[in-house]
Amino acid sequence: MAAAGIALIALVSACGATGSQAAPGTIAVVAAENQYGNVAAQIGGKDVSVTSIESNPNTDPHTYEVSPSVAEDVGAAQVVVQNGLGYDDYMTKIESASPSQTRKVINVQNLLARPDSTPNPHLWYDPTTMPKVANALAADYSALKPADASYFTANATQFIASLNPWLQAIADFKADNTRTPVATTEPVADYMLQAAGADNLTPFRFQADIMNGVDPSPQDISLQDNLFAQHKVKVFVYNEQVTDTLTQTFISDAHSAHIPVIGVYETMPTPGFTYQSWMLAEVNALQKAVADGVSTQSL
């Protein structure tokens, strides 16, 4: 029913598309999440008009519901960037509802060759992800606008170089701290925590339950409680975009046990951040939490 509705809307937009907001002469790009949109804009520069679908830091992208204007944007897009791994399945539905021979789709899951069974969909926290996305974007842009190919390649090179402060911060953290024990609510920043050598003591089953919006088992809740009460972790990393009574309880438990709390985001907080500065800010928050015991609940 919903799929049929999307299909209908997409069909209408395919027939009567006015080209969305794309400025004339630019490549129309749609990114499912604004972190990919930000990178897409950095690589494309003056040649692209980027629309990001999910950019509201107060909502959970996992439960995103599509509006008609999204179908219209995707229908008119020349390049689409989506995460994959079930995180933004609606994109695939909209794309197949308005088929296009020329639209280029960058599915980050496929780009990284991750199997569908990959439990943690938050790929952009993995330091190896965005360089590949940047290069894929440069290649697709170059195919659409060959005259500016060297411009796109230069932008990609510059972008990849600009990730260095973040990568350095991760490396420094890892060098300073061996297997820092942490607790989390969801696997949002797990790839980054892993890269930083942290040891996530929250069972993945618990993180997946919170991510999927179902109740964790009492055993896992109790285990998590004890991580705070018995001071087994040095930091509590929670998903700033998904809070409920249970996660609020954990936040206050962590505070009363004097364990620093840091909030991480599923989509890039706006305004004032680029992908690079956001990622760096999150590692800095982790560093400050472990070194100085400082909480950073929002960026």
Binding site: N56, N58, T59, D60, H62, T63, Y64, E65, R205, F206, D209, I210, M211, N212, G213, V214, D215, P216, S217, P218, Q219, D220, I221, S222, D225, E240, Q241, V242, T243, D244, T245, L246, T249
Partner: protein, 299 residues
């Protein structure tokens, strides 16, 4: 004793904080539901009871939106709905289903809106499952006193007007003839019902709360004809189903190590249903006798 139960009770059951809260809250709520539900069945208001529970979803989901406990939303919405139902004519047997159905439809429309807003405009992920199917293991222990107060209110209303309520539940004409303010008793009862279904909504969920309200009461009324005894039986049946359900949900964590167990609402509702089936098999209907003997007791 403890040793002989060990195959049934997995380790850590009684020392687990979420379990302790669930046993206390679930127990209190089961007792209240049993007492109030007995009169629901006697008065033939099962549909109203079920509808109030469903209507509560609008309140519960609105509570998520403003960031307070769903219980307050359930209670506020159900009391309002009970008032409207009374006003449009729940007293008249012919208008009763209509009044209930109209209010139910309108409230479910609101619930659809609020649940949509919960997932798109605020950072709550589990709202839908939490409101519809309950979340007893994630109840903060700070809610226990609040639940206790509401329980005392609901049970108190029923017990305070015990005799007139029984009489007007059996025959409103007879009650009127005896000078009982039947309408006032009806309003008071509806208020108690509204609070009772709100309480069971936070334990096993809004759409399942009828099971706890009507199931144990219907089973109890198979076992005895006396209203007082039936209410006591219903309370015990509800209590056993809830506690056993909590235990099975806890144990099921060990049956399914990867996913971490089945929801407690499923076990509670299934146990209630099985007990009702068992009562059907064991006790043959004695409809003729039942009516006369309840009348004698009331008179």
């Amino acid at each position: 004793m403890a040793a002989s139960l060990s195959p049934l009770i997995e380790p850590g059951f009684f020392s687990n904080l979420p379990v302790q809260t669930a046993l206390v809250v679930g127990g209190v709520v089961a007792v209240v539901s049993g007492i109030v539900g007995t009169f629901t069945v006697m008065r033939g208001q099962s549909f109203a009871g079920h509808s109030l529970a469903d209507i509560g979803t609008a309140g519960g989901s609105a509570a998520f939106l403003v960031g307070i406990s769903p219980l307050f939303g359930f209670v506020a919405m159900n009391l309002m709905a009970a008032g409207v139902m009374e006003w449009i004519g729940i007293r008249r047997p012919r208008g009763r289903d209509l009044a209930t159905g109209i209010v139910l439809g309108a409230a479910l429309g609101l619930a659809a809106l609020f649940l949509y807003l919960d997932s798109t405009a605020s950072s709550t992920t589990g709202a839908t499952i939490n409101v519809l199917f309950g979340s007893i293991f994630t109840l903060p222990s700070s809610m226990v006193p609040v639940i206790a107060v509401f329980s005392v209110v609901a049970a108190g209303i029923v017990l305070a007007m015990y005799r007139p309520l029984i009489l007007s539940s059996i025959s409103s004409d007879l009650a009127t003839a005896q000078g009982i303010p039947v309408r006032l008793v009806g309003i008071g009862y509806l208020a108690a019902l509204a609070v009772a279904v709100s309480l069971s909504a936070v334990t096993i969920g809004a759409i399942l709360s009828t099971a706890l309200l009507v199931g144990p009461a219907a089973t109890a009324l198979r076992l005895t004809n006396r209203p007082g005894r039936a209410a006591a039986f219903a309370a015990v049946i509800g209590l056993v189903a809830t506690w056993l359900g909590v235990l099975l949900a806890y144990d099921s964590y060990y049956w399914f190590p990867t996913t971490g167990g089945w929801p407690v609402s499923f076990f509670v509702v299934t146990l209630i249903f099985l007990m009702y089936l068992a009562s059907q098999v064991r006790f043959r209907p004695r409809s003729g006798v039942q009516r006369r003997s309840t009348l004698t007791e009331a008179g």
